[in-house]
Subunit: 258 residues, 4 copies
């Protein structure tokens, strides 16, 4: 196997599509969002590429006894009344620094092959506390892209995210911008402790407005309700502990639960 | 030395052989199993390939003062009344992520060279507690392989192993499947704390039925008896501690003992 | 993207320029110094090269919503009454051992391209305690360079810095020396716990004498005053703690604050 | 700079020389031994090769203000009444697994260039306790080499060193053996906590007998006396603590002191 192997599973003609990335990350916001997109637009979508790489962990996933080699998948979606999409999903990020560069370049190559010149990277931005109002924070590859996104409610903040954007999401803007792509990263606010379907919905609602598709949110809301129950139980336990100990619990009491 | 150097120690004509891998891993189940195979079938086996690689640790092992460079070995076995075998053993796994890809590809190259189109990866799956009944959990590279293995008692479970299969065992299915190999991973249940000859026997008994060879288990059972004694002593100590402290010992009291 | 991509942003004719490096490091001394140089000499400076590399972290920085791919920048400065300069800055060091070698070679290539044959690497040397008198410790690529720097107050010590000089600063002397560059590393003494504008000023004052430019220090001194306030507050807190506990606080009470 | 750069500093005609390696390791036994050899045989030795590599840490050492790029050095020694020598020293080991392979191959290339077909790797084997009688434990690349070394007092033990030999010392036997070199590793027993000149002397005394040179040990013995004093003080402190606390100190009370 070479460092990178791309399987051309199918070919689809797309009209000026947009690459939308949702690999695993903070609060699983990006992957929840793109998986929901795939589910809702399933009738119009086709798996077109699988990307295998030595940069992924050396691993197979197993479902009902059948093993699948770790890869990233790109689905083509011909959206009836909106922009065509290329949806990028996968179970893993690259395992090394330069692996992120290698994979991002491969994803951009595929996007170019299908005629895309725009990319949206979806993810979460951790706030350290439970969220009431789900703001969507943005970053763009070029100043000219700010206004249109501000109009649909994306917030651009002076020094946020403070540490920059790391991994494929960041590089899709950075390397993408160098290659002539217009790129935006949409990051839903999320506590950072829990898988967060509500944050994913906030991100998708922005995308609906900019890309012109219509989604239903039933399945995502169900998942959010399940998480609410988990949070409710945690808060109950916290209150009991507080009463018992008069000792404020820390964020460490909350663990990543999915 | 190149990244990979394969010494062709001998050539043997095999008839449709099966590659059986037993590198070190959980409970040493895979390596115990393949080493027992080698011991029992010694009369019919020949060392055919040594694989040296910069992906292995930079190390020699020393026995009676003589140093041997870390490598993996492949023995060819012409089984009288069963399928011919290629047995893969070694003291070490690769030390990096992409090393697993590089080595697995090398092992599959050798398998192809000897005309193999099937591969069995042997290993253990940790349960976290001492085992009474040794189930063998399976994973396959293709759905069509499920039925035959279910018939000989291999269990295929919905979401197991939960984290997938990591390392050469996983990639023999993943990369092997992509290259046209039929692959199965047989994982004996094991506590994960102890070297486990009983789990190795459970895995070998499945292999006997599918590949048609006959093994004696005297030496493996002796090793199992030794481990039983160790376990007995640990449990005795635990009970004494419990009586003394009325404090339940954790799994951490058990260490990897070989 | 290749391992290394150098954007030629502009071309400037320089007369026997000196490469001055200020990448992040101990007390941010080097980066504070070179950024202050850039600020003060802004009218005469031009951004000439951007260096992108897979050796940098896979990351964009974000300012007011606009993302920029991690890179190092080289500005050319035509100093009216002094030596021309090539100023090297950036937000990150390489992430791997060999990355430092790769980037240093790239920086030296660019320096050669502009006709430079001298290099100054600026940095800090940690003393473990707050500094009263800011000495500048030096190291050079060749013995013949000692005298001139001793004359302007640089101290050369028998076994300092004890662990040698690590990273690009060290390699600019080591690799630079091998390629025929005259190289000096100027290290301002600094506690190692705090961003240290005073140490940066001490280093710059040496450079003024050797390279013949004139700087004002207003903005750097303001930053130093802010740090003094921080230090004052820390010392006050320490004294209070000492009175309360009669227990001497350790250096661990001081954290990196910038 | 390439991954590897070898400077040919001088050429010397040697008669069937032996490569003797003393890079840093347990108790600094190997490096103390080879540095003492260099010191004692200085009149007959010439620096012939410097090996620079991206596998070494990205670092310069500084002595009296002058920086030197990390490298390994090979000196040629024409021993009046004994075998000619190639002495390999340096301040650092490789920083990665495959770096050890790369550097060892480079060292063997140079040995071949000077006509060597034998290699001695010198080092220490940690015992975990202070040593009274300094045994020298051996390992060889080929069984035929055992007898001659046993005759001069080298001990070959069934399963020692238990974890094999890691790094360049191990690979000089492993890779060397594959390339046709006769290789031996001589490991002086040492506590593992202290720089150990006595262990280095034990190793050198073996080498004197096999290679036929004569050494004086004055400077090494002085260094040993200094270490004895350090050990004496530590033991005194331990006894005081024991009397005070009736609590046995552990090996952790001893630190690496050089």
């Amino acid at each position: 196997m070479d460092e990178l192997e791309i399987d051309a599973v199918a070919e689809v003609e797309l009209d000026d599509p947009v690459l939308v990335e949702g690999l695993p990350g903070v609060g699983h916001v990006g992957s929840l969002a793109v998986e929901h997109l795939l589910e809702e637009l399933e009738a119009d979508s086709t798996l077109v590429r699988r990307v295998y790489s030595q940069e992924f962990p050396p691993q197979v996933s197993v479902e009902d006894g059948v093993a699948d080699l770790t890869c990233a998948e790109i689905h083509a979606v011909t959206v009836p009344d909106g922009r065509d999409l290329l949806l990028l999903t996968g179970d893993h990020q690259a395992q090394t620094n330069d692996g992120h560069y290698v994979l991002t370049d491969a994803f951009l190559d595929i996007a170019e092959e299908f005629g895309a010149s725009e990319v949206y990277a979806l993810g979460g931005v951790p706030t350290g506390e439970l969220i009431e109002e789900y703001a969507v924070v943005g970053a763009v590859s070029d100043e000219s892209l700010l206004e249109e996104l501000e109009e649909v409610g994306v917030e651009f903040r002076e020094d946020e995210p403070a540490g920059g954007i790391v991994g494929v999401s960041g590089l899709l803007l950075g390397l993408g911008g160098r290659r002539g792509f217009d790129g935006a990263c949409l990051m839903g606010e999320t506590s950072g402790y829990l898988v967060d379907p509500k944050s994913a919905r906030a991100v998708l609602e922005v995308l609906e407005e900019t890309l012109g598709f219509d989604l239903e949110y039933e399945s995502l809301d169900e998942r959010a309700d399940e998480m609410e129950e988990v949070i409710g139980k945690i808060q109950e336990m916290e209150q009991q502990q507080q009463q018992q100990q008069m000792d404020v619990p820390t964020d460490d009491d909350l663990r990543y639960i999915g």
